[in-house]
């Protein structure tokens, strides 16, 4: 059919299949702000457009139903703003024909007000307000949100909170939460009414600093909110091949045979990769420092499938249709095996072995390894290669283990006034990034170029190198903007096979997970069983803590030691307790794969330890708050417990550094009115309060490593080539602010190029809350080095002593002795001239054994309906010591996003498997994630002001820690409300009713 549309005020006519979805049509024709997050589920809202003046999901509209429509796309807002500024009447485009309000044109013009920048960089009113409010994080949905809010203020120039909620009701935001969207609307309305903001988007810190600790425009914010071409999918040429994966229908089976003969005959099929023709190389997909504390337990394709959704074959074809047809023609004969899905099943006597091949060690092999390997099974099991011992025993499905402690817990338990022992269970959680896992790879001049949405570009390069056999100088990884990661993009889950496919075929290859594949074949939060035993005295002193952790890693061991270690290493050090012990085991099972997830194992450990502490306080007759204040660590307390909690090596025993924990607890208790009982007007509804102490880390001291190269360009501007990987959190902005602050120059004269393995030097990547602390400190080192280079060169050019010179805003060298001034532009121009001494460059490198630990406390007030079991989180306060918040508005949004995510984990999120290991809720609607209506009515994030001695300008990490508090805070609040302890998440109404004895 000929489809006639008016798109962003321009008439268009396309020849198309009438059934083709409007989202695809628009994306195919360059409207790249109309994206797809959910495979036409009508959930995420990435495909939002205005159709005849109303927001709709373009993914649910066939071409035939759109005939003649006027459409506004998110990426069109800037151009429409330019048109409006030129006097073009856009009323009908935004309101539809004949639907315009009386003041239609004026309303449209006001709402499209530009920010005064040049066309290439300008933003509309709402787009600018969103950047200023800090909500443009990973931002896959930011353009669609900007469209919705623009539509809102056109229809309601002074919207109240309820109107904003309505406007945002059909769009999923996972990174920043929703709270600052209300702020963005407020800012936009203020500017629309008076030409300027009267509200500060966020508090400012460190008055003696110029830009650090102050709200400032996120450097990638404008491009992201406009819907520019910044994600992997935007770099894919139309002639690229498509990679599709045939996945296992069995949870555990050997592949007896696989026949691709008929599939290969399908026109357009380029290559099919299977266990029979893939490289015989064992590796793992966890993006961790090398050597990794994760076993190399897989090949690209294996002869044994270990979960429903495991890879069986990869089809490279010129079209998706050809790939799908070929997939249907691949004949696979399976030999099904008994499967295990829980840690209990995996630990059972005679449990089937998920891995039953030869075990190898690169270092530290046990003396009896040969004897151990005599019991190996079928050759199709392959092998498991450990880089060093991790306490594994694959014959009992143990992928890793560890135990240790300090003092004598048994003695403490024996002498205590009270002991509580409880087992806590957590569900398997999906990250649900809006941008699914995606990769584009192609050969460029004899090198392999990999466009990746990743948290770990250098680990991607290393692992792609292993798989392809290419040395690192032949691989170029380009980290694009990342549309949501939350840990799942710390793993090399799709880059391995996509890169190999491009390398082996010589063709450009594009791969993108479906939303279902995100659930069944990706990476998830480990389901975990945490048994906590805690003892105390009547005066509230905690005398002993024991934690037993049993983690379900699924079929492969990505992060198998690190995640459960965090359950203990980021919880036990909260306590001044002389007797503490832990026992960790990580079990292989046939459930969907687990891996890194924001917070690693800490949310689960925090859930167990804080719930147990609250119950112990009740048993001892102590006030929980008093017990917290009596037992929490303070600056200077020596953390002996850390000795055994390294990642497969001895940990650093350090004293507690800067610590805002007590302030967070006290301030939070005041905010929530701790100790005051709230009463509902509904007699069936009971209200309770709870809170939890939390901590995390700021990277991995002794393991992480970051580098940055600062160079002054010939006009005096600076480019920082940083190894860091900004995944939407604002890390590039942090680096730019650091350069700007140290070099005394405007931020707009600093450009940060990051995540490109050709352009920068090594960085371990963005995970374990390392970005600000490690990559930020590398930027500090590079900037300070560049400052020295500038002063040295200026001294030579000015013929003065370096000690008499200083840097001065807005980018010049000033002589305190002579009063002479040399601008960076003049300085650098001379340095790079025919007689110059060369460009001023400094290569900074940062490693440390210091640890800047963020602390905090999260508070919840819940209302529980005792007749229906329904739980409403009425209030949630997140108070965190993030050191110096370099980007305060972004810091707050990260806290809101992580806390809301964790409220979802606590109350409803959880993958559900049937008896055969099929995930039965592998879509957004059935899985359930918090949207704007799920946000607590009273939601506050508060930054506790602490200046850390080791962080860059005193900064610590922010976002991971914010995942740790919701479950125990809500669990304790539920107990306060109705007197029952819920020991497993999600904490559903049915579990409440069962605990209350309403159903049996």
């Amino acid at each position: 059919m000929k489809l006639n549309l008016t798109i962003n005020h321009i008439p268009r006519c396309y020849e198309t299949d009438p059934a083709k979805r409007l989202q695809e049509i628009l994306a195919d024709h360059g409207y790249n702000g109309v994206r797809d997050s959910d495979n036409n589920e009508g959930f995420c809202g990435s495909d939002t457009v205005l159709l005849n003046g109303e927001p709709v999901y373009a993914d649910l509209i066939p071409a035939a139903a759109a005939q003649g429509a006027k459409i506004i796309t998110p990426d069109g807002l800037r151009d429409l703003g330019i048109l409006a500024a030129k006097g073009v009447d856009l009323t009908e485009d935004f309101f539809g024909e004949g639907c315009s309000p009386e003041e239609g044109r004026a309303v449209v013009d006001r709402a499209l007000l530009l920010n005064g920048k040049e066309a290439g960089d300008c933003l509309t009113l709402v787009q600018q307000a969103m950047v200023d409010a800090g909500v443009v994080g990973s931002a896959y949905n930011a353009p669609a949100a900007a469209l919705l809010l623009t539509w809102l203020i056109m229809n309601d120039p002074h919207p109240d909170r309820e109107a904003v909620k309505e406007a945002m009701s059909g769009i999923f935001i996972r990174d920043a939460g929703y709270e600052h969207y209300y702020l963005a609307v407020k800012l936009a309305v203020e500017r629309m009414d008076s030409g300027a903001y009267s509200t500060q988007p966020a508090p400012s810190f460190r008055p003696h600093l110029n830009i650090i600790g102050k709200p400032a425009e996120k450097v990638d914010g404008p491009a992201l909110v406009r819907g520019d071409r910044v994600f992997v999918e935007d770099y894919v040429p139309a002639d690229s091949c498509i990679l599709k994966i045939l996945r296992s229908p069995h949870a555990h089976a050997y592949i007896k045979s696989i026949d691709t003969t008929e599939a290969e005959k399908v026109p357009g099929v380029v290559h099919i990769i299977t266990a029979a023709n893939c490289p015989d190389i064992y590796y793992m997909q966890a993006g961790q420092g090398n050597p990794e504390p994760s076993p190399h337990d897989r090949r690209l394709f294996n002869w044994k499938v270990r979960h429903v959704g495991d890879r069986v074959a990869g089809i490279v074809a010129e079209t998706e249709e050809a790939a799908m047809e070929a997939m249907s023609l691949i004949k696979v004969e399976y030999e099904p095996l008994k499967a295990v899905f829980t840690v209990e099943e995996a630990m059972a006597e005679d449990a089937p072995r998920v891995h039953n091949g030869i075990v190898e060690y690169r270092a530290g092999a046990p003396a009896d390894l040969d004897e151990y390997n005599k019991d190996a099974g079928d050759w199709r099991d392959g092998k498991v290669v450990y880089q060093f011992p991790l306490g594994a025993d694959i014959h009992h499905n143990v992928a890793a283990g560890n135990r240790g402690g300090i003092g004598d817990v048994e003695k403490a338990f024996g002498e205590a006034d009270a002991v509580v022992e409880r087992t806590y269970q957590t569900s398997q959680i999906q990250h649900t990034p809006l941008e699914p896992h995606v990769c584009f790879a192609r050969m460029e001049g004899g090198r392999l170029a990999v466009y990746a949405s990743t948290q770990v570009p250098y680990h991607v390069r290393r692992i792609v190198g292993w798989v392809t056999g290419l040395p690192e100088n032949k691989i170029h990884v380009i980290k694009t903007r990342v549309g949501g990661g939350y840990g799942s993009k710390q793993d090399i889950l799709v880059e391995d096979v996509t890169s190999y496919a491009a390398f082996i075929t010589g063709r450009p290859v594009y791969y993108r997970n479906t939303r279902e594949e995100e659930f069944i074949a990706n990476s998830t939060r480990h389901p975990m069983r945490v048994r906590v035993k805690m003892s105390g005295m009547k005066d509230g002193t905690i005398t002993g803590i024991f934690m037993e952790v049993r983690a379900n890693t699924g079929p492969y061991g990505n992060h198998c030691l690190t995640v459960p270690m965090n359950s203990c290493s980021k919880t036990l050090p909260l306590f001044k307790c002389a007797n503490m012990a832990y026992d960790l085991k990580v079990l292989y099972t046939n459930s969907p794969p687990a891996g890194a997830y924001q917070g690693y194992g800490t949310p689960k450990g925090t859930f167990g330890i804080m719930m147990c502490m609250a119950e112990l306080a009740e048993k001892l007759g102590c006030d929980y708050k008093d017990m917290v204040l009596k037992n929490h660590v303070e600056t200077g307390y020596m953390l002996d417990i850390l000795k055994g909690l390294g990642e497969g090596r001895e940990g650093n025993v350090v004293p507690v550094g800067s610590c805002g924990l007590r302030d967070a607890v006290l301030q939070g208790c005041d905010m929530i009115k701790w100790g005051v009982k709230e009463v509902s007007s509904d007699p069936d509804v009971k209200i309770g309060k709870g809170f939890a102490m939390i901590m995390q880390g700021s990277g991995l001291p002794g393991l992480d490593h970051s580098e940055a190269i600062a160079k002054m360009e010939t006009d005096g501007t600076v480019i920082l080539n940083s190894g860091c990987a900004d995944i939407g959190t604002g890390l590039d902005t942090i680096c730019a602010k650091i350069v700007s602050e140290i070099m005394c120059m405007p931020m707009e004269h600093v450009t940060v190029l990051s995540g490109d393995t050709d352009a920068a030097a090594f960085d371990t990547g963005s995970y374990a809350s390392s970005g600000t602390f490690f990559s930020g400190n590398a930027a500090v080192v590079a900037s300070k080095g560049l400052k020295e280079e500038v002063l040295k060169e200026a001294a030579l050019q000015l013929e003065e002593d370096k000690e008499d010179l200083e840097l001065r805003y807005p980018g010049e060298v000033y002589s305190k002795k002579t009063g002479k001034v040399l601008t960076y532009a003049d300085l650098s121009h001379t340095a790079c001239s025919g007689s110059g001494r060369g460009m001023m460059v400094y290569h900074g490198n940062f490693v440390t054994t210091a640890s800047s630990v963020p602390y905090g406390a999260h508070f919840a007030q819940v209302a529980v309906n005792t007749r229906t079991g329904e739980i409403k989180v009425q209030k949630f306060y997140a108070l965190q010591d993030a050191g110096t918040p370099i980007n305060p508005e972004l810091a707050l949004c990260q806290m809101y996003g992580a806390a809301l995510k964790s409220i979802g984990h606590t109350l409803y999120e959880g993958m559900i498997l049937d008896k055969d290991g099929n995930c039965i809720n592998a879509n957004m609607t059935d899985y359930g994630v918090p949207m704007i209506y799920e946000q607590p009515d009273d939601f506050k994030s508060v930054l506790i002001d602490v200046d850390d001695p080791d962080g860059p300008f005193g900064a610590k990490s922010i976002s991971e820690i914010a995942c740790n508090g919701a479950a125990p805070a809500i669990g304790i609040a539920i107990h306060d409300a109705v007197g029952v302890w819920l020991e497993d998440w999600p904490m559903t109404p049915e579990k409440i009713l069962r605990k209350l004895g309403k159903i049996v």
Binding site: A19, G42, V56, G869, T925, M931
Partner: protein, 255 residues
């Protein structure tokens, strides 16, 4: 999807186009949805059909054309408050802008936003097919759906607040955007009570209030990802108890 689309201008044209293998296409939120249950070789687009978008409130009835979207109904004067509440069960603005009243009824989903409320209110539907037009109670439509597959819903008629009807509805779902696992509605007009009940995975029920206990015991309720049979039975009974108490203004557990 590989199919044709027809664009009739009138109800008569639309019903004349309805043949085996065809399906009506209303808002698209069901038909185009991931894993849609709607299969057809041709779709009859209803968006340009005259006579399907009116809203008329007169006396004790409100007649809403089947192609009226949730959003339009929410904005229209005269829509009973109990029905607005049900329309808001659809939490997404974009979906409410697309989803139509008729489409939601025709889908007859066991997690329907509207059907339990409409059943409890005693709503009627207007239908058209090649044999003519008729009006029947929604409950009857539900019972005869298999034989009415080619019928086009042209409007729904629901009692206005002036009629004296009172309807309470409650939706249970993990989140606003999740599928409801239980939607319960009870209506009262004069001394007559009606119940509309949608249970995910089980179906839509209209148990008679006078023998509620018997009919409820016979209902097929399953354990599933949303909860156990015991939970759903408890919740249904409790919610109906509460609704009865509120509607009758009496205490006790007569339901």
């Amino acid at each position: 999807m590989n199919c044709e689309f027809y664009s009739p201008a009138s109800i008569d044209e639309a019903v004349a186009m309805m043949k085996d293998g065809c399906a009506y296409f209303a808002g698209g939120t069901e038909t185009e949805h991931l894993n849609s249950r709607v299969e057809a070789s041709a779709f009859i687009l209803l968006r340009g059909v005259a006579g399907l978008t009116g809203i008329e409130a007169s006396g004790e009835d409100v007649r809403i054309g089947s192609m009226v979207t949730f959003t339009r109904a929410l904005k229209a004067p005269g829509i009973p408050e109990y029905f607005r509440e049900a329309l808001h069960f659809c939490g997404s603005l974009q979906k409410r802008n697309m989803a139509t009243i008729g489409g939601n009824i025709a889908s007859w989903r066991c997690d329907s936003y509207l059907i339990p409320t409409l059943l409890a209110a005693g709503a009627q539907v207007e239908l058209a097919d090649e044999t003519g037009r008729c009006t029947m109670p929604l409950e009857e439509y539900g019972q005869k759906r298999d034989s009415l597959k080619k019928a086009l819903i042209t409007a729904v008629i629901l009692p206005s607040e002036a009629s004296g009807v009172k309807v309470l509805s409650k939706r249970y779902a993990n989140t606003v955007e999740s599928h409801a696992y239980l939607t319960i509605a009870m209506g009262k007009k004069e001394d007559a009570f009606r119940i509309g009940l949608a249970i995910k995975g089980s179906g839509i029920f209209t148990p008679d209030i006078t023998n509620w206990g018997v009919s409820w015991k016979m209902a097929d309720v399953k354990d599933d990802m949303f909860g156990s049979e015991a939970y759903k039975r408890y919740l249904t009974g409790t919610t109906l108890d509460d609704m009865y108490e509120k509607l009758s203004g009496e205490g006790g557990d007569q339901v």
